[in-house]
Subunit: 204 residues, 2 copies
DNA sequence: GTCTATAACTAGATAGAC
DNA sequence: GTCTATCTAGTTATAGAC
């Protein structure tokens, strides 16, 4: 599945640059990826890249900002489909993991390259990351208030759940032993059994 | 707690270089950390650094290799203290989290800088990482065989547990709301409830 | 063990032609 | 929108003095 802004058959040059940037940032990271290398991979000269983006920092921000928008939009949409806190949580976990298996490069750099953002750009991305985490925390809180979740610390639990699933992008292999859906089911099971008040999570 | 090779009151120059390297790699990453910067922070010239290490790559490998040794040794020692699978798992989680809260920089770079190792150096570090993961997997397997753990996929479960706890180093703040022990307890609880066979019909 | 000096190279970014 | 050419500054690493 391609990201929504990349679904056009003929990707614009700006979009080609973004995709190549994501690929190379994933492979080598921001500092080790030169503007020249991005350009060379697209068969243009590095100076041409500056027609589309103001600076390397600008390109980093643009890429990360779009990934965050995609994440937030997708999570909101997924959670909205659930009725109960348990359904909402499962939907959230499923979305989070499928994003991390389907877009490994995007998911990886959305964490690893944060420290290369300028102070102001970091502030803007950190805000969106907080919005994303808060959706999870809200679902957990609803479950606690409804008396179905046993979560002593919503923030720590949300970090634990997010990081466990986020980590999938570091080991998941497209052609590995398990498919994305199996991986998602294992994680749902582990998490639900970890936080549900009854132990019905195990035999859903 | 300091790492064992750093307990001497007068750290050797090589050790000072390693500590500064860890600090700067954590802050900026390998490619963005210049040999000059490491040297400057120790009030020596960059050329002097080459007396102690052959190359920047050599320094990266040396630092990561020692971190892996410390992790493996510490985990083995912790697990050996437990009698039952459950005790062993709690000991393993406690060690893993305390390492990630007490040595945030070391823990962080032991993942983030892997991709900057040369092919041969990567192979050597990856082997040690595998050894570390296998200790966790062995404990989980013992629990399954003893009939106390409900873990449908030992590998995925080990990754989920490790990554959940590993992630602590990315958000844990020394002077934050929670101490390291509280964080560890919350994670132990979440994991144990997630995998313990507490009721019948837990299998899928 | 640390220094000065420097070689050989690569980086981000811009000017101006077409 | 892409090119050539170039500026300035930074990079790893080495040679050889002390």
């Amino acid at each position: 599945m391609a990201l929504s802004w990349a679904t056009e058959e003929q990707a614009s040059r700006s979009e080609q640059i973004r995709q190549m940037t994501i690929h190379l940032f994933h492979e080598k990271g921001y500092p080790a990826t030169s503007i020249r290398a991005i350009a060379k991979n697209l068969d243009i000269k590095s100076s041409s890249l500056y027609y589309h983006f103001q600076s390397k920092q600008d390109l980093l921000f643009d890429v990360l900002d779009r990934i965050m928008d995609e994440l937030i939009q997708g999570l909101q949409k997924s959670v909205a489909h659930g009725q109960t806190p348990e359904e909402k949580l499962v939907a959230a976990i499923r979305f989070h993991i499928s994003f991390h298996t389907d877009h490994q490069a995007e998911a990886f750099i959305s964490h690893s390259e944060l420290r290369f953002l300028s102070a102001e750009n970091f502030r803007r991305i950190a805000e969106k990351r907080k919005r994303y985490e808060e959706i999870f925390q809200q679902v957990l809180r609803e479950g606690v208030e409804a008396g179905v979740f046993n979560v002593p610390d919503v923030k720590v639990a949300s970090y634990a759940i997010l990081l466990m699933c986020t980590g999938v992008s570091s080991w998941f292999a497209e052609k590995g032993r398990l498919g994305g859906e199996e991986v998602a089911r294992i994680h749902e099971d582990l998490i639900l059994r970890g936080i549900l008040k009854t132990s019905k999570g195990g035999n859903r």
